[in-house]
């Protein structure tokens, strides 16, 4: 069964090929069928493979399938090889399954759009690339997937290419992530130069043997890899592209910019955890980046008007949680949160998509309101997703995953109270903006009429995701509530566990209570502020300081402005100034000097016979004078 692993990524690629080559000539239904079917089959196969993998695990809990050797030069011999273990299985399950649901949803969402088959082609290519990223047995293949998903993100953000703003957002996404990728590439060079291989398994083995903990090389390598992760996962300082990426169609935001691609950074760090463990400094930086990002993005999410931008900032913030988890060494908690987040965030985006479509492509929450009666299924599922995001205690998956992270931040082996405090504050803010979003969108009075009523094709994925985001959390229950460790046990076949300090259960209980209270408090505050008496918020926003802070947060803490001033504008300026290449001036000058000589000499060539005779005479006289008198 495991031998069929290669078919999982191959199917989406096949779908892409078919759609890219002849998609434009087939009817829309066929194109959609191919696009959905390829991912669906992939997802089905993944389930079978997963069952097989868990029921009869291969030796060493890792299954490697080598298809062919990619290239082999001087010891650098990455293969086109797939690596299946607990981490990658979780990821491919999420990718194919959520991917399938989103594809299905898109069938209706994108109906009637120009380039219908193109959309599915790109989406299939994305899923294929993402699978390669996750399944890649070596860092070069991972890099292939890494760039491939970046490309698809670019293509899909700019899917509606006729609007230059979309194209700009797409380019921004690609280029900003590419900055991170470059750092990552240098990291790969260091790893290969120092350790002589880019095979993941081999690197994890060899690194601790060659590098002492905290020595400069692993720090450098880990920092550079972190650069790549930060770019892809939209963390500080490369987070600026993700809010703009919302220019793409909503299913794209759900799949790429919430559920899968943006978590690739988490995957990379979890994958290379040995290198990061060897560089504790960098690991701390990871945690700090996560904490800062989750706070910054949370505050920004509070101020957005566009529902998709709220979700985008919330995504950044939630990935911040995952980074925080990685930073405190809670590897499996990070992956757990990734999974739950994928479910509920995809759900939220898809729900938002329904709303947007229902209100005729209206994305401003202040122009929404009261749609809960019109699209009840969407409303209820959206509510479930929001509850999960806000980590409503006990009944949501988000609570369990976030709680786990906070627990390890407080009490784990790399515990850090500051990070914990940031996480807790973040939880409060998360609850605040989530509730605000739900209230603004679904409650209040209706401001527009219904434009498009979703059919089962759009609602079915919502329901499934709602179920998953609720019950997905129950695969890992804390000590206080049944102590179920299915997920972390599974992860610990690959990722190291995290020792908890003594006196666990009582601490844990207190922590859980704190977290629960925080979440409920956040929801309550938001209810009071945004629903009961919204004029207070308005007044705050109108005040001098408040308005300025609001604008500052709304623009994402001015990072765009900073980067424009520091990098973009100077480079563009240099390029514009030097458009005709100043080096050419050197050669133009040489040519000019020559032309001047030419002028001077051609002046002597008057073409007049007598002038030449005079020249001869002068020459003769000079010669004679020299001969006679000297």
């Amino acid at each position: 069964m495991l031998e069929l692993l290669w078919i999982v990524p191959a199917l989406p690629f096949l779908g892409f090929l078919i759609l890219a080559l002849i998609g434009s000539r087939m009817p829309g239904k066929t194109a959609a069928a191919i696009g959905v079917a390829s991912i669906g089959l992939s997802a089905l196969l993944t389930v079978f493979i997963g069952i097989n993998f868990i029921s009869s695990p291969p030796a060493g809990r890792v299954y490697i399938q080598t298809l062919w050797e990619w290239f082999n030069v001087a010891g650098l011999n990455p293969g086109i090889a797939l690596r299946l273990d607990a981490v990658s299985l979780t990821f491919i399950f999420v990718i194919t399954f959520v991917g399938f649901l989103i594809h299905l949803y898109s069938v209706e969402y994108m109906e009637g759009e120009e380039g219908y088959s193109r959309f599915f082609a790109y989406m299939n290519l994305f899923v294929g690339s993402m699978l390669m990223l996750v399944l890649g047995d070596n860092l070069v293949l991972l890099y292939l997937g890494w760039e491939g998903v970046g490309l698809c993100s670019y293509l899909l953000i700019g899917f509606w290419y006729k609007d230059p703003a979309n194209g700009y957002a797409a380019r921004k996404a690609f280029i900003v992530t590419r900055v991170g990728d470059t750092a990552m590439a240098i990291g790969l060079f260091i790893l290969f130069t120092e350790l002589g291989s880019l095979n993941i398994g081999r690197l994890l083995e060899v690194a601790p043997l060659n590098w002492p903990v905290g020595s400069s090389m692993p720090v450098l390598a880990a920092a550079l890899l972190l650069g790549g992760a930060v770019g892809k996962s939209a963390q500080l300082p490369l987070q600026t592209w993700l809010p703009d990426a919302m220019a793409g169609p909503t299913p794209v935001s759900a799949l790429i910019h919430a559920a899968t691609m943006v978590t690739a950074g988490v995957y990379l760090i979890a994958r290379m955890h040995v290198i990061f463990t060897l560089a504790p400094v960098v690991l701390t930086i990871v945690g700090v980046i996560g904490a800062l990002t989750l706070l910054l993005a949370g505050f920004s999410a509070l101020t957005q008007h566009d529902i998709k931008r709220v979700l985008a900032y919330s995504t950044i913030s939630q990935i911040g949680y995952m980074f925080l988890a990685l930073g405190v060494g809670a590897w499996s908690a990070a992956v757990f949160h990734f999974m739950i987040h994928a479910f509920f965030k995809a759900l939220l985006f898809l729900g938002a998509g329904v709303v947007i479509l229902a209100l005729h492509h209206e994305q401003n929450m202040f122009k929404m309101g009261g749609v809960r009666k019109m699209i009840p299924v969407t409303f209820w599922t959206f509510l479930i997703g929001s509850a999960s995001l806000a980590a409503l205690p006990l009944v949501t998956g988000g609570f369990y995953s976030k709680d786990l992270i906070l627990f390890y931040a407080f009490d784990g082996e790399r515990a850090n109270r500051w990070l914990y405090a940031a996480g807790l504050l973040g939880a409060l803010i998360t609850a605040l903006y989530t509730t605000r979003m739900v209230l603004l969108t679904f409650f209040g009075e209706a401001k527009t009429h219904l434009h498009h009523k979703p059919t089962w094709i759009m609602e079915m994925p919502l329901v499934v995701l709602a179920v998953l985001s609720t019950f997905g959390g129950f695969v890992e229950l804390p000590h206080t509530l049944g102590h179920l460790t299915l997920f972390s046990d599974f992860m610990q076949t690959i990722l190291p566990g995290n020792q908890v300090a003594e006196g666990g259960i009582s601490t844990e209980l207190i922590l859980q209570l704190t977290a629960a209270v925080t979440a409920i408090l956040g929801i309550f505050i938001a209810y009071m502020l945004y629903y009961k008496n919204p004029e207070r918020v308005t007044a705050l926003r109108r005040s001098a300081f408040g308005s300025r802070l609001h604008a500052f947060w709304k623009k994402g803490w001015g990072f765009d402005w900073l980067y424009d001033t520091l990098f973009v504008n100077p480079i563009v300026w240099i390029a514009e100034v030097n458009k005709s290449d100043f080096i050419d001036l050197i050669y133009t000058f040489i040519a000019w000097v020559n032309r001047m000589f030419n002028r001077a000499f051609s002046f002597t060539q008057s073409g007049r016979l007598r002038w030449y005779a005079m020249g001869i005479a002068l020459g003769a006289i000079i010669t004679l004078t020299i001969a006679v008198f000297l």
Binding site: M614, A617, I621, T625, V628
Partner: protein
């Protein structure tokens, strides 16, 4: 004989000066003939009678007649003489005059800084000349013959009326 030489020399210088200053080409040619004749006299004095004869026959005779023919063909009238006077502005004389003066001063300086030499006017017979020509200088004679031949062909080719002839590649663009 010395006196005759100096007289002939004077005539030669004066007539040559007239040659280069005349406005009318025919006048200049006539002065030129005088100049050539006086040079022929000097040749005779120096004992080169054969060459003197050649000077008269070929130079003063043939070549000058050729010039006269051409001047006739060009049909230069009074208008051209007037044009000549415009061309011969004094400003045009100064540069060449100075240059030439320097040259002649240098020549005189060279000649008169060395020991004085006299030429005995002893004749060199045509026979000797002939022997020399067809002896050691036979190659020169051949070359002169070829040169003359080339001159004839060239003159014929250049002198006839013909259509404007262009290089075949240039043909297209100029049309």
């Amino acid at each position: 004989m010395t006196i005759v030489f100096y007289i002939a020399a004077l005539v030669a210088v004066i007539s040559t000066a007239m040659v280069i200053t005349r406005l009318n080409a025919v006048h200049a040619l006539l002065y030129m003939v005088v100049s050539l004749l006086s040079v022929a006299v000097i040749f005779f004095i120096l004992g080169a009678a054969f060459v003197a004869a050649l000077e008269v026959i070929v130079y003063a005779g043939a070549i000058m007649v050729l010039f006269v023919f051409v001047v006739m063909m060009l049909n230069l009238g009074p208008a051209s003489a007037e044009q000549e006077s415009r061309w011969l502005s004094p400003a045009g004389w100064i540069g060449p005059g100075i240059l030439s003066a320097i040259l002649i001063i240098e020549l005189v300086y060279i000649l008169f800084t060395n020991a004085r030499q006299d030429i005995l006017t002893q004749s060199v017979a045509p026979r000797q000349v002939g022997i020399a020509l067809y002896g050691p200088y036979i190659l020169g004679v051949e070359l002169a013959a070829i040169l003359l031949m080339a001159g004839i062909v060239g003159a014929y080719h250049l002198g006839r009326y013909k259509n404007v002839f262009l290089h075949r590649y240039l043909h297209k663009e100029l049309q």
